[in-house]
């Protein structure tokens, strides 16, 4: 089978905030969007890369010496993505657990075995499996193969998507999916592009198509201070959702974790830093959503 398969960035068991019940989350690498506030910056690129845990580094320089492509900066010890061929030599030689390979190839069978390990917990907690990323929907054939197997065991499937995908291909695998978390970042295409590197037309049109054929969609908005939290934009979002017949939105308050993770793969990573919303601000934002006819749900 030579369908395009993703590198697996992580498989996280006992995840309880990525859909109902106890879940295992499969994180695939590669995402068409590059949000400045991304929570998982190490999942954006499609190839494996080396994460650097600077707090463990003892400055022995063994990694620098062994790297066949001179990809490691001798001062910062960060691997240069363009030069790195993901051979893993530096990870193996590091004695201090300061380097980890992000992204590995796994066979379909290996993935399924791993995902089924917690099947008893899924059934007792009414949980299941969540596919996240990166963007899982850019691998519809790969997903389809795995989902078909998982569905034999009647496992609840959730997909977390940024909305940027080929709708025709994804439509084929919708029957295997129970729930979709659909992220909406900004309704203004220009601003969308500025913060995520791509325009929003495909995303919005995919949402429109999806909602007519798929029932269980949860719209999620990462609330970014000074980007998409103004009243005008909130109204635009609400109008858009109402027009599509959707009345609920899950708000994800901004958190600075993505940045601190970004420096593990690129010390020159552009630091996106805004002050997180206060409780009062969040309440105000929530009441604005309500005012415009959308029921907002937040966690914490």
């Amino acid at each position: 089978m030579d369908r395009p398969t993703p590198y697996i960035f992580d498989i996280q068991r006992f995840s309880i905030h990525d859909g109902p019940g106890i879940r295992t989350v499969l994180f695939t690498k590669s995402c068409p969007l590059k949000c400045k506030w991304c929570q998982n910056p190490e999942s954006q690129k499609s190839k494996p890369e080396v994460g650097f845990y600077f707090e463990n580094c003892q400055d022995c320089n063994k990694c620098v010496e062994i790297c066949p492509t001179n990809a490691i900066d001798p001062i910062t010890k960060i691997s240069n993505y363009a030069a790195c061929i993901a051979c893993g030599a530096c990870v193996d030689i590091c004695e201090n657990d300061a380097r980890r390979m992000i992204g590995q190839k796994m066979s379909e069978q290996e993935i399924i075995t791993e995902l089924l390990k917690d099947i008893d917990f899924y059934s007792d907690s009414e949980g299941g499996i969540t596919f996240s990323g990166g963007e899982p929907f850019i691998y519809p054939e790969f997903l389809g193969g795995i989902l078909k197997e998982l569905k034999k065991q009647k496992i609840h499937i959730n997909i977390e998507t940024c909305g940027q995908f080929d709708f025709e291909k994804v439509a084929n695998i919708l029957p295997f999916i129970d729930l979709i978390y659909f992220d909406i970042k900004h309704l203004d295409s220009q601003i969308h592009k500025e913060y995520t590197v791509i325009a929003n037309e495909t995303i919005l049109s995919n949402f429109g198509k999806l909602i007519t054929v798929f029932e269980n969609i949860q719209v999620r908005i990462p609330l970014i201070p000074n980007v998409n939290d103004d009243k005008e934009h909130i109204k635009a979002v609400c109008d858009f959702l109402l027009k599509k017949g959707h009345k609920l939105v899950h708000l994800l308050p901004y958190h600075s974790m993505g940045n601190s993770k970004a420096i593990r793969i690129d010390y020159k990573a552009e630091i996106f830093k805004v002050k997180p919303h206060t409780k009062e601000e969040l309440n105000k934002i929530k009441s604005q959503f309500s005012e415009f006819g959308i029921n907002p749900i937040t966690y914490d």
Binding site: Q12, R13, I16, D18, I22, K117, H255, S260
Partner: protein, 774 residues
């Protein structure tokens, strides 16, 4: 009509006041028992008497002469010692070693205890008398043997025998007590005594039962008098009436059957005190109180004498009292059992004999009390089965989310089965209650000495590993290990036998025997095998470390051949001079990560231990059975043990109970439970302890609570045995930040998703820590 279970009452002002008094009290040593006991035994005339009579008379004197106090606000009265929170010295049992510590108690780092100058003096005076008379000395013949045993227990490397402090750990037949009273026991003993010749062994036993039970009646009467005197002086009419009621109750019980809930609780508490004063090896457990007391609750509600609130107030006032008792242990023994645990279990819920659910309103009231009190004692446990009501589980998990780690959970789908495989009848097995820490026993029928000893299985593994410079196969290492285990058991069991025999010969327990079925009918003390069930429990400590070590040897030396056996030995001896080798060993999978190979190795170690031990019979005619809990001996044994093939360095604590080694369960709780379900718990009828730590935030929210509930549900459906859920507070996050290796699994909520605390940068960690404090 019984009121609905969903009703949650506020904690009563009385309960709050009583709890505060406990929290404010200092931990002290009380000299009274030791002084009275010594005085009795120094008497030449007493020394001539049969030993059963001696113990009964000495304990009777303690009950008649010890100081008694009724504290403000109390509804259930009776004091274990002369201190609000105190413990007695049992010079004839732990004797000399504990007295040697007299000057260290106040200043020692772990569990310091207060002792007044005057009491210290009194205690010092008892010392010379007991030097050669305490149980550890009497158990062994010949001075060499005595000293060998004493030294081995003072700096124990292989096993710790708790029975040198007496045999206990049982759930007395409190059902019989509340239904028939002491009167019933006396009548039985009197009648049976007539069948035996005066002065015969059995006649003496019955005589001792009569002596001590008569003293029990007088013990109650002393409190009755005290309550009346206080009532006379009392200004508040409300309290005056309470004291008058107490006076009447203490006149009636423990002598007579209890007439109502308060009498039943009072009767139980008097006996609870007295049994604790009889012998040291505590773990005296009231057990399934919701079952024993429900009929009194029902009667009270129907007659209108009682309402839910009043019942809860009584049960709360009763429960608080258990925190007033602490065991006094020497510094050395404190290393084995730190935390001042007296092991008094109260258990709720479970299946009835016919498979139906047994929870009732009292189960719910007791769960509320656990949450409100949050004290060290009593040790609250809850039984769970596959068809337990959702409401009951909900209540349990909301109690757990308050962070006290209570109740510990027990699985009815496996424990009765494990007990039946070890000789218990199906009905009795179904009526089990845990006692002490985690040990399932049958109330009123088991004298199972569940905490008889803790055995360091690593000491045997080390012997096997170092016995040869090389092994031609992994299997031959395993068979060496098995042979070494058999050898060690031979000498261990003979020590055990000597101690159990000495208990029978020198420290029979006529009062305990009065509340264990079989003893009175057969005229045999519980220490002599009079009970229906007579097991002895030995804990296998270090099973996970042993499993991890064997698996590492198998992988590195025999399968992958990355390290030679001699290289391994020299690394162990040098505590890993070559850190590379250690790292390599550490990377080999460890128990608790859902890796079948290593999980099965842990089961192999514990299972082999159980199989070999099971072949021995104890002094009382019962089987030896295995438990997998460790008190704090895993830390102690770890401290004195060198490097292990698992990559564990010298001195590091072993894994506690059946939990994976600290920090090894890197794959999260589901993986850990999958590993734990690879253990066949029917092999460990003496109980296991699994400590699972959760971050407070994980458990408090509705989502986290449901997830935790589901984890336990799955674990129990697949026949897990026991689990204790620990909720970590924010301070722990700070520790986790400083020492991440010891806290690998703290799941934190960042924003709409979870992450492991260690995977976050300091910056985000700090943010979480500060956020949590609000």
């Amino acid at each position: 009509m019984i009121e609905s279970t969903t009703q949650t009452n506020q904690q009563s002002p009385r309960s709050i006041a009583l709890k505060k008094a406990i929290l404010d009290a200092e931990y002290s040593i009380c000299a009274e028992r030791a002084v009275i006991w010594t005085d009795y035994f120094k008497n030449k005339a007493n020394q001539q008497k049969p030993v059963d009579i001696q113990i009964a008379e000495a304990l009777a004197r303690v009950l008649r002469e010890k100081s008694i106090t009724i504290y403000p606000d109390e509804l259930i009265v009776g004091n274990f010692s002369s201190k609000r929170i105190g413990g007695s010295i049992y010079p004839e049992l732990h004797g000399f070693p504990v007295l040697l510590d007299l000057f260290k108690f106040t200043t020692r780092k772990v569990n310091p205890l207060k002792v007044t100058k005057q009491e210290r003096k009194q205690l010092l005076k008892t010392m010379p008398f007991w030097t050669f008379r305490f149980l550890g000395m009497k158990a062994f013949k010949g001075i060499g043997n005595k000293i060998r045993f004493l030294l081995s227990q003072l700096k124990s490397t292989e096993y710790v025998i708790n029975e040198t402090g007496g045999i206990a750990h049982f759930a007395p037949d409190y059902e019989k007590l509340v239904n028939y009273g002491i009167k019933g026991i006396l009548a039985e003993a009197k009648e049976l005594q007539t069948k035996h010749e005066q002065g015969s062994e059995k006649w003496n036993f019955y005589e001792s039962v009569k002596i001590i039970n008569t003293a029990m009646i007088d013990f109650g009467a002393r409190y009755s008098k005290e309550a009346l005197q206080l009532a006379e002086k009392e200004q508040s009419t409300e309290r005056k009436n309470e004291l008058i009621t107490i006076a009447e109750i203490c006149k009636n019980v423990p002598l007579n059957p209890a007439k109502n809930l308060q009498e039943a609780l009072q009767s139980i508490f008097f006996v609870q005190i007295a049994i604790n004063l009889e012998s040291l090896d505590n773990g005296i457990s009231p057990g399934r109180l919701d079952q024993i007391l429900f009929k009194f609750y029902e009667q009270g509600i129907t007659s209108g004498e009682l309402n839910r609130e009043k019942a809860k107030d009584l049960l709360s006032a009763f429960s608080v009292k258990f925190a007033e008792l602490i065991p006094i242990l020497s510094k050395q023994i404190t290393e084995y059992h730190s935390g001042l645990m007296s092991g008094q279990v109260i258990c709720v819920g479970g299946k009835n004999a016919d498979g139906t659910d047994s929870t009732n309103e009292l189960s719910y009231i007791l769960l509320e009390i656990m949450q409100e009190l949050g004290l060290r004692q009593p040790n609250f446990h809850a039984r769970i089965h596959n068809n337990a009501p959702a409401e009951y589980l909900d209540k349990i998990f909301s109690v757990l989310s308050s962070g006290y780690g209570s109740p510990a959970l027990y699985n009815d789908e496996i424990i009765p089965e494990a007990l039946q495989l070890n000789g218990y009848s199906p009905d009795d097995a179904g009526n089990y209650t845990p006692v002490g820490c985690v040990e399932p026993t049958v109330p009123g029928k088991s004298f199972a000495s569940t905490d008889a000893a803790l055995f360091n299985v690593i000491s045997v593994l080390e012997k096997a590993i170092y016995s040869k410079s090389n092994f031609d196969s992994f299997e031959s290492l395993l068979s060496t290990f098995e042979n070494q285990l058999k050898l060690k058991f031979n000498s261990f069991i003979s020590d055990m036998h000597a101690i159990e025999k000495a208990n029978h010969k020198f420290h029979p327990t006529p009062l305990s025997s009065s509340f264990i079925e079989g003893c009175i009918s057969s005229g045999t003390c519980s220490t002599g095998g009079g009970a229906i069930y007579n097991l002895s429990g030995v804990q296998c400590v270090g099973a996970a470390d042993a499993g991890d070590s064997l698996y590492a040897i198998k992988k590195a030396v025999f399968d992958d051949k990355t390290i030679s056996y001699s290289e391994l030995i020299s690394e162990l001896k040098s505590n890993f001079k070559n850190d590379q080798i250690r790292k390599q060993l550490v990377k080999i999978p460890k128990f608790g990560n859902d890796n079948q190979g290593v999980d099965e190795m842990t089961m192999y170690v514990a299972g082999t231990f159980s199989k070999i031990l099971n072949e021995y019979t104890n002094y009382r005619g019962g089987k030896y059975v295995t438990g997998l809990y460790s008190m704090t001996t895993h830390a102690y044994f770890g401290k004195i043990t060198g490097a292990l093939p698992s990559g564990r360095k010298k001195g590091v604590s072993f894994a506690s109970g059946i939990s994976p080694t600290n920090g090894a369960d890197k794959s999260g709780p589901t993986a850990m439970f999958n590993s734990l379900n690879r253990i066949d718990y029917t092999k460990f009828p003496n109980g296991v302890n699994l400590n699972v730590k959760f971050n407070k935030q994980t458990l408090t929210g509705e989502i986290g609570k449901n997830a935790t509930k589901a984890l336990v549900k799955t674990f129990f459906k697949r026949k897990g045995m026991q689990v204790q859920i620990n909720v970590l507070d924010p301070d722990v996050l700070i520790k986790a930040q400083k020492d991440p290796d010891s806290y690998p699994n703290i799941l934190v909520r960042v924003s709409g998703y979870s992450a492991y605390f260690n995977d976050l940068t300091v910056e985000v960690q700090n943010e979480l820590i500060t956020r949590r404090k609000h």
